[in-house]
């Protein structure tokens, strides 16, 4: 009976941890199979331990080329979407203008539409215009679908900003430009950074829209898709594992730095109370 009670009290925790395991299981499999030495062309069955793929991650033709192409597209798409999205977010929060409802739905709709619909309709536009599919059509598409997410992220931050801070800056004789650069932008920066990170992640990992609008250009997700039909090299798992480890380490370092800064700030204010 006590065991049943114990189980009852921890039911949520156990169920939650099981879900977490479900979420992480594929990552574990990807990591383990990056040390595999498969017999055939496909890396789905465990054969024997080997670090061969880790010693030569670019050993498969086209893999690292597709990776750098994806990084390049993601960087430019992030830059474009962050710039355009931040501008829209500021206009939405700070100004009154006509047709606000229409603007809001134009920003919301791309997030509420299945990717395949956006991908297919954009392709009909490019086909009608006779555009050559490749780097530029991918970049245009990525900026398009990342834009809305940046707007949402930046808007949330700018909306929670205390408008009195800017008023204070102006009371202290800062011009509009100075106020923007020295007060508004630093406060909005975390929102802009969050939007940019999201845009980078979305663009880098996008497959469906790229699949439609890439022509014969091969990004990293396109490479993985192609290899699922032809044969999956172990190097794919190596790249996947490396990406996972690098990202987790970066997040942990950023968190540690943030914690230390907070603590130091707390100490400072403690020593010299204003």
């Amino acid at each position: 009976m006590t065991f049943v009670n114990w189980l009852k009290r921890r039911l949520v925790v156990i169920a939650g941890l099981l879900t977490l395991a479900y979420l992480l299981l594929p990552n574990i499999v990807v990591t383990v199979f990056s040390f595999n030495q498969p017999k055939g062309r496909f890396n789905y069955e465990w054969q024997e331990f080997s670090t061969e793929a880790w010693q030569d991650p670019c050993g498969v033709s086209g893999l690292c080329g597709s990776l750098t192409l994806s990084l390049r597209i993601a960087l430019w798409a992030t830059l474009g979407a962050t710039l355009l999205g931040t501008m829209i977010a500021f206009a939405l929060v700070r100004y009154r203008f006509r047709a606000r409802g229409a603007v809001n739905s134009l920003i919301f709709l791309p997030m509420a539409m299945p990717e395949v619909v956006m991908a297919a309709s954009l392709l009909t536009l490019f086909l009608n215009m006779g555009a050559r599919l490749g780097f530029w059509t991918i970049l245009i598409a990525h900026i398009m679908f990342c834009l809305s997410f940046v707007v949402v992220a930046v808007k949330a931050r700018v909306m929670s900003m205390d408008p009195r801070l800017e008023q204070a800056a102006q009371d202290l004789y800062a011009g509009p430009f100075q106020t923007f650069v020295r007060v508004t932008l630093p406060i909005a920066a975390p929102g802009i950074a969050a939007g940019a990170l999201l845009a980078f992640a979305l663009s880098f990992d996008d497959f469906i829209i790229t699949n439609f609008n890439a022509g014969s250009t091969v990004t990293f997700p396109m490479f993985v898709w192609g290899s699922a039909q032809r044969g999956t090299p172990v190097q794919i798992n190596v790249i996947g594992t490396a990406m996972f480890v690098i990202a987790v380490v970066l997040v942990l370092v950023a968190m540690a730095v943030g914690n230390r800064r907070d603590r130091r700030k707390a100490q400072k204010t403690h020593r010299s109370p204003l």
Binding site: P26, L106, M243
Partner: protein
């Protein structure tokens, strides 16, 4: 996504607002580049697609708008099984995501304590590995004769699922179950994050109050926690259902020809068969169906502030 919600209109406060010289054109200058981008590369394509769907012709001779609406009828009568399947699979995946995601979101919001940040990172971390690679990993996990399938077989779970038509024989791979499992896995974080956001906002004193009023934990959950988490449930289900309906990656990698979804049809019509009018018509129907379902759902769930 609760952040999508528009802020309540702030009351104009002319006394606290300084008499700033603001250009009347500033908001438009800020809006125009981004909105133009969305108009040209999002809205205009939808119109082009609508026009393509009523064209006839061939790749060699070119296409012409002939208002050939029969394409819609032909597309629907030929591909309705794929449409039904898409909605069915996406709905199953959404329900599974809710059932699996809720405990985890609850755990992070109320029970995790100092582990909260770590669990949060672990929920987001899979995103850092390409989702295609992770989906391919399910091929290994669900492999024929593998430990998972073996365990399900010994427990006679496979007999039940086969009887329900979810699996075929003693296989899981290349069956509806595998596709739904992949969809659930891929969109689970999109359910957990909005759920967590709305759960975290709940004032813990409400739980104490319910407890003080002699509500049992289950009653507290039913009458306090769950109703207050409804915004998260609504946005989570939308964020799961919409992309899952249009997905073709899981059906392609984990399924078979019997599990093709409407996304697979659109993809192959557009990129392999090159029958543009049919593909455009299918994509247009999918868009209309999703918008209709989303509108209906938002109305019914009474959270209009989502849009």
């Amino acid at each position: 996504m609760t952040t999508v919600a528009e802020a309540p209109p702030r009351a104009p406060a002319p006394e606290t607002e300084p008499p700033r010289k603001r250009g009347r054109w500033t908001p438009y200058l800020l809006l125009v580049p981004g909105l133009l981008w969305l108009l040209v590369f999002f809205a205009l394509p939808v119109i082009y697609q609508a026009s393509t769907s009523v064209q006839t012709g061939s790749l060699e001779e070119g296409y012409e708008v002939t208002w050939h609406f029969a394409t819609y009828w032909d597309a629907l009568s030929e591909y309705w099984p794929q449409f039904v399947r898409s909605v069915l699979y996406a709905a199953s995946a959404t329900v599974l995501c809710l059932l699996l995601g809720y405990p985890l979101a609850y755990l992070i919001a109320f029970r995790a304590g100092r582990w909260r940040n770590l669990i949060m990172i672990l929920v987001i971390a899979p995103f850092f590995t390409s989702f295609l690679i992770r989906t391919l990993a399910w091929k290994t996990i669900l492999a024929d004769g593998g430990p998972v399938v073996g365990a399900l077989d010994t427990l006679h779970v496979l007999d039940v699922t086969a009887w329900l038509g979810w699996t075929v024989g003693d296989r899981v791979l290349a069956t509806p179950l595998a596709v739904v499992c992949g969809l659930t896995y891929n969109f689970l974080p999109f359910m957990i994050l909005p759920l967590y956001t709305s759960l975290e906002r709940i004032d813990p004193r409400l739980h104490e109050a319910a407890n003080d009023l002699y509500a049992r934990p289950s009653t507290t959950f039913r009458k306090v926690t769950f109703p207050l988490s409804m915004p998260g449930v609504v946005s989570g289900t939308l964020l799961t259902f919409i992309p899952a309906t249009g997905d073709y990656v899981n059906a392609d990698l984990l399924g078979s020809t019997d599990t093709r979804m409407v996304g697979n049809v659109i993809q192959s019509q557009f990129l392999r068969i090159l029958d543009y009018p049919t593909a455009a018509a299918l994509s247009f129907i999918l868009m209309a169906a999703i918008l209709f379902m989303v509108m209906f759902y938002i109305r019914r769930s009474g959270t209009e502030d989502l849009v």
